[in-house]
C-alpha cells in the first residue's frame, strides 16, 4: 500500500479539538468521528495492517458528506467502523452524542436501528431467496416495529418513493427478476423504512450503468431533502460527489488528507493527492459538449520535498471549513513516476 515516499500525505494525528465541523451549520453534529483507528490482523504480527488512522470528521443532520478515495484507501472500512462491524476500531464514534465504540453487541444492535448501510453491489446485497417485500421489511421485523399491516404499508410507500411504481408489481418478486438499477432502488427503499438518522452509502452506483446512476443519485438527494437524514456518501468518482455532496473528504492511505465544502475542494484543491485525483478526472472527462466555461485547473509543477518522507502532517484549516494535511507551502503535485510505482 502506501510507501514511505507518500508518508507526507498521512497525518500523525488530528488535533483534539473538533475542527472538522461544517462552519455553515450549527447545532450538535449527527455523527462525530474522532481519531478513528482501525487495524486488521493480529497485533504486532507481520500481517498487521492499519487500514484507517487518526480519522476525524463529522456529519450534520441532513448533510451529505462525500468520502472520496481509491481502492485500498480505507473508505469502506470507515463505513464499517461506523456501523460497528469492525471490532478493532479505536477512537471515538458518536452518533447523536452517544458513543458507539465499545458498545456490547446487544446495545449495538439497538443503535443500528438509526443507521443504515447501502452496499455497492446490488446483486449481492439482496438475499436471493427472499421476496422484495421480505427484504424491505426485514429491518422492521428485526427491530419489531409495527404490525403486519403497518409494515406492508411502509414497504409499499418506500418502494413508491424510490420509483418502483406501482409497488404491487414488485413487492412479491425476487431480486433476480429485477435489473441492477431496480435492485439498488430496493436497497435504498430498505434503508428508508426505519427512517434512519444516518445513511452510509458505499459506492451505491459504481456497479450501475451510466444511464442509471443519475436516477439513483436523484433519489438519494430527494430523500435527504425530505427526511433530513444525514448521508455519508462513499465514492471514488469525484464528478458524482460534486453533484451530490455538500462537503467532500478525501482519503488516502487510510488518512484524511483534505476536507472542505465541495466547490472549495474542487475549485481549489490543496493537497497534492486531491490535485492528482482532479487531474485524472479531468483527463478522463470527455471534451465538453458545450463551450467550456469557467474554471480550468492548472497545476504548478514541482517535486515532493524530502521532508514529506518523514513528517506526518496534521490537518490544518486553510480556509473556513477547508482543511488539508500538508505542510508544503507550494502544495505541488508529486512526481508522477512516484505514484506510478504505487499502483
Amino acid at each position: 500500500m502506501a510507501g514511505r515516499q507518500l508518508a507526507c500525505f498521512i497525518t500523525k494525528r488530528t488535533g483534539s479539538r473538533s475542527l472538522t465541523d461544517d462552519p455553515q451549520r450549527s447545532g450538535p453534529p449527527l455523527l462525530e468521528v474522532r481519531d478513528l483507528n482501525v487495524r486488521f490482523g493480529a497485533r504486532g504480527r507481520s500481517g498487521e495492517v492499519t487500514a484507517v488512522r487518526g480519522l476525524s470528521f463529522s456529519i450534520a443532520p441532513g448533510e451529505i458528506l462525500g468520502l472520496i478515495g481509491e481502492s485500498g484507501s480505507g473508505k469502506t472500512t470507515v463505513a464499517r467502523a461506523v456501523m460497528g462491524l469492525v471490532r478493532s476500531a479505536t477512537g471515538s464514534i458518536r452518533l447523536q452524542g452517544r458513543e458507539m465504540l465499545g458498545l456490547s453487541e446487544r446495545e449495538l444492535r439497538k443503535v443500528r436501528r438509526r443507521l443504515h448501510l447501502i452496499f455497492q453491489d446490488p446483486y449481492d446485497s439482496l438475499h436471493p431467496g427472499m421476496r422484495i417485500r421480505e427484504i424491505v421489511e426485514e429491518a422492521m421485523k428485526i427491530h419489531r416495529t409495527g404490525d403486519r399491516a403497518h409494515r406492508t404499508a411502509t414497504v409499499s410507500a418506500a418502494l413508491e418513493d424510490v420509483g418502483l411504481t406501482p409497488s404491487s408489481r414488485f413487492i412479491e418478486r425476487y431480486p433476480y427478476q429485477l435489473s441492477g438499477g431496480q435492485r439498488q432502488r430496493v436497497a435504498i427503499a430498505r434503508a428508508m423504512v426505519l427512517d434512519p438518522a444516518l445513511v452510509l452509502a458505499d459506492e451505491p452506483t459504481s456497479m450501475l450503468d451510466l444511464s442509471l446512476r443519475s436516477g439513483i443519485l436523484e433519489i438519494l438527494k430527494r430523500h435527504r431533502d425530505t427526511s433530513g437524514t444525514g448521508y455519508l456518501f462513499i465514492t471514488h468518482d469525484l464528478a458524482l460527489a460534486r453533484h451530490l455532496c455538500d462537503r467532500i473528504a478525501v482519503m488516502f492511505g487510510g488518512k484524511l488528507v483534505e476536507l472542505g465544502p465541495t466547490e472549495a475542494v474542487i475549485t481549489n484543491p490543496l493537497h497534492p493527492y486531491t490535485k492528482l485525483l482532479l487531474q485524472a478526472v479531468e483527463e478522463l472527462a470527455p471534451p465538453a459538449p458545450q463551450e467550456p466555461g469557467g474554471y480550468r485547473v492548472s497545476y504548478p509543477s514541482g517535486r515532493v520535498k524530502e521532508c514529506c518522507a518523514t513528517i506526518d502532517p496534521e490537518l490544518q484549516e486553510i480556509a473556513p471549513g477547508h482543511y488539508v494535511a500538508c505542510d508544503q507551502d507550494d502544495r505541488s503535485i508529486p512526481d508522477k513516476s512516484l505514484l506510478e510505482k504505487e499502483e
Partner: protein, 324 residues
C-alpha cells in the same frame, strides 16, 4: 488511411431449445488503419458478444450465423476453417479482455504467459520469446524486477498493463479491447488510457475499444459506435457524437454524464430499464425509454441510415421520409 477491418452482417445468436436470443443483430463496422473505434453500450447491449464474435471465440450455445463476413486486410476470417483461427488470434487479432483481474493464469509468472504467445506465433525459442516478452513489459511501463511476478502479486493497473503487453506482443493488426479500464481507480484509469493513446501513436495501433462508459471512449477514440440491444444505433466521429448526439439514446447518455465544470445541474436520468434481450419490444427497441417516441416507432424497426455527413443513426427521426 486505408480500411483494415470490414465487418458486414454480423449476427450472433444464443440458441437453446427454448428460445433464440440475438445478442448481436446485423452489425456492420469498419476500422481504418491506425484508428481507434469506440463501441459504447450498457449492460445487455451485446458488446461482449460482439468482441467474442470478432475473435471467433463464441462458445455454444452461442453461434455466429453464416452469411456475415469479416474482412481483415481483405481476407474473410469467417471463412477460415476453425482450425486456422488459433494461428490468427494473437497474430492478426489480439484481445484485451474485460477483466484484467482474472484474465491472467494465476499460477504462471506474467512474462512466461506473454512469451507463450510469442513462441507460438513467431516460432522462436523460449529464451528469445522471453526476451521479447520482457521488452513488451518494459514498453507498457512494468519495472524489470516485476517481470516474473505472479499475477496476484501485481496491482490491478499493473495487471492491465501486462494484458496490454500480451495483446501487443506479436504486433497484431488489430487489438480488440473489452472494457480495458473498468474496475480500476480513476487515477489508474487515466494512466491506462494514456498508455493506450501512446501506443497508438508509437505503434500505429488499430483498435476496437468497447466500453459502457461514454466519457472513456470519447476521450481516446476516433470514431464511436453506440450499441443498444444488439444493434448499432449511432455512428460518427467521436467529437461530433459527443457534441451533437443524434439518437435519443446517445443524447440521454451524454446528458447523464456528471460534469466537473460549470454550475451543478440536476442529472438527467434515462427512464426505464436496460433492454432485456429475451423480451424486446416491437418496433424500435429504445421506444419504451425514448422521450421523443411517436406512433410509428411502435411499428417500424428503424435501420441504420446516414443522418448527416459521416454520421449514421438508427432512428425514425432521421429517416429521410421524416426529415422535412
Amino acid at each position: 488511411m486505408s480500411t483494415l477491418l470490414e465487418v458486414r452482417g454480423l449476427n450472433t445468436v444464443y440458441r437453446t431449445p427454448a428460445e433464440t436470443v440475438r445478442a448481436v443483430d446485423g452489425v456492420d463496422l469498419t476500422v481504418e488503419r491506425g484508428e481507434i473505434l469506440g463501441v459504447v453500450g450498457e449492460s445487455g447491449s451485446g458488446k461482449t458478444t460482439l468482441v467474442m464474435s470478432l475473435m471467433r471465440l463464441i462458445k455454444p450455445p452461442g453461434r455466429i450465423l453464416k452469411g456475415g463476413e469479416m474482412l481483415l486486410d481483405g481476407e474473410d476470417l469467417f471463412r477460415l476453417p476453425r482450425s486456422e483461427m488459433p494461428a490468427r488470434r494473437g497474430q492478426d487479432l489480439a484481445l484485451i479482455p474485460q477483466s484484467a483481474m482474472h484474465a491472467l493464469n494465476p499460477v504462471i509468472p506474467v512474462d512466461r504467459q506473454i512469451a507463450e504467445g510469442i513462441s507460438v506465433h513467431q516460432g522462436v525459442g523460449r529464451k528469445a520469446a522471453m526476451r521479447t516478452a520482457r521488452e513488451r513489459l518494459r514498453e507498457v511501463g512494468i519495472l524489470p524486477e516485476r517481470h516474473n511476478a505472479y499475477p496476484h502479486e501485481l496491482s490491478g493497473g499493473m495487471r492491465q498493463r501486462c494484458i496490454i503487453a500480451m495483446a501487443i506482443a506479436n504486433e497484431p493488426k488489430l487489438v480488440i479491447a473489452d472494457e480495458p479500464v473498468s474496475g480500476l481507480d480513476v487515477v489508474v484509469q487515466a494512466r491506462i488510457l494514456r498508455l493506450i493513446s501512446e501506443l497508438k501513436e508509437s505503434r500505429g495501433l488499430s483498435m476496437i475499444l468497447v466500453s459502457h462508459d461514454l466519457p472513456t471512449v470519447a476521450k481516446i477514440c476516433d470514431r464511436i459506435m453506440v450499441m443498444y440491444a444488439g444493434r448499432i444505433v449511432e455512428t460518427g466521429k467521436a467529437r461530433a457524437v459527443l457534441d451533437k448526439p443524434l439518437h435519443p439514446y446517445t443524447r440521454a447518455l451524454v446528458e447523464a454524464i456528471p460534469q466537473m465544470r460549470g454550475p451543478r445541474q440536476p442529472l438527467q436520468p434515462i427512464p426505464g430499464d436496460p433492454p432485456d434481450l429475451h423480451n424486446l419490444p416491437p418496433g424500435c427497441n429504445f421506444r419504451p425509454r425514448c422521450p421523443a417516441a411517436f406512433v410509428d416507432c411502435k411499428m417500424v424497426d428503424p435501420s441504420l441510415e446516414e443522418a448527416e455527413r459521416g454520421r449514421k443513426a438508427a432512428c425514425l427521426l432521421y429517416h429521410k421520409e421524416n426529415r422535412k
